[in-house]
């Protein structure tokens, strides 16, 4: 096990379980290695912590829990990048944003694809206008 200083304290992680972002999250291209930190609260919330920068962590969730019809075609270059042949081998997650007013939104426009078999991941952009970067997901008052 290795340890990592994050803004939530020091965490232990297994380097073998590191997820490698082929190109990094958009805007965070310099950060390639992430680990998933189990949440104490619930297992459906996934915390993706950067190994290279302890201050960077994303919260992700399976979007189909809230939007059962959410699906999109996966381009060949994405499959090649993830070294994965089929869609069913991939885990699709979306990032959660907690806003200043405590509202919560889900970024359906830029899902994160993880191939568990290769530990490779990629954030892709869906240019379809029906997918919002800020799809409301309730908040303090909902």
């Amino acid at each position: 096990m290795s340890t990592l200083d994050t803004r939530f304290g020091t965490i232990a992680y297994d380097p073998e379980q590191t997820i490698v972002f082929v190109q990094g999250m958009i805007g965070f291209e310099h950060l390639k290695h992430f680990v998933t930190v189990p949440s104490e609260e619930d297992d459906f919330l996934i915390c993706l912590q950067s190994v290279e920068d302890g201050s960077v962590a994303f919260l992700l969730v399976d979007p189909t829990r809230y939007f059962p019809n959410y699906s999109f075609p996966i381009a060949e270059d994405v499959k090649a990048g993830l070294q994965s042949d089929s869609m069913k081998d991939l885990v699709v997650l979306c990032t959660i944003t907690v806003h200043q007013d405590q509202s919560i939104t889900l970024n359906l426009a830029a899902p994160v694809l993880i191939a568990p078999s290769t530990h490779l991941a990629m954030q892709i952009v869906l240019e379809d206008p029906k997918y919002s970067t800020r799809e409301p997901l309730g908040g303090a008052n909902s």
């Binding site: 619930d42 829990r65 090649a80 990032t95 944003t97 907690v98 426009a109 997901l137 909902s142």
Partner: protein
């Protein structure tokens, strides 16, 4: 910013492996074609900027948000 003037059919090369060609100009809209290695990410500027901004905001959550999040998201699950 480097500024170049190009006609329809002409192009610009960036490095050894990126080619941008002007394909058509019609009613103030310009169609361009891009040849680049497939691992190269290519997006419309405003879309890239919006995702980049959202990703930065998505890292701003606080540990306290976790409990509230799982509560409110769990409640949402129950409704469905």
């Amino acid at each position: 910013m480097l500024v170049l003037t190009r006609k329809v059919g002409e192009g610009v090369r960036i490095g050894d492996d990126i080619l941008i060609r002007i394909l058509e100009e019609k009613d103030g809209r310009i169609r361009i074609g891009i040849e680049a290695p497939r691992e190269q990410r290519i997006y419309r500027d405003e879309i890239y900027t919006r995702i980049q901004k959202e990703n930065v905001e998505a890292t701003q959550w606080k540990p306290d948000d976790l409990r509230r999040l799982s509560k409110s998201l769990f409640r949402k699950d129950q409704k469905e």
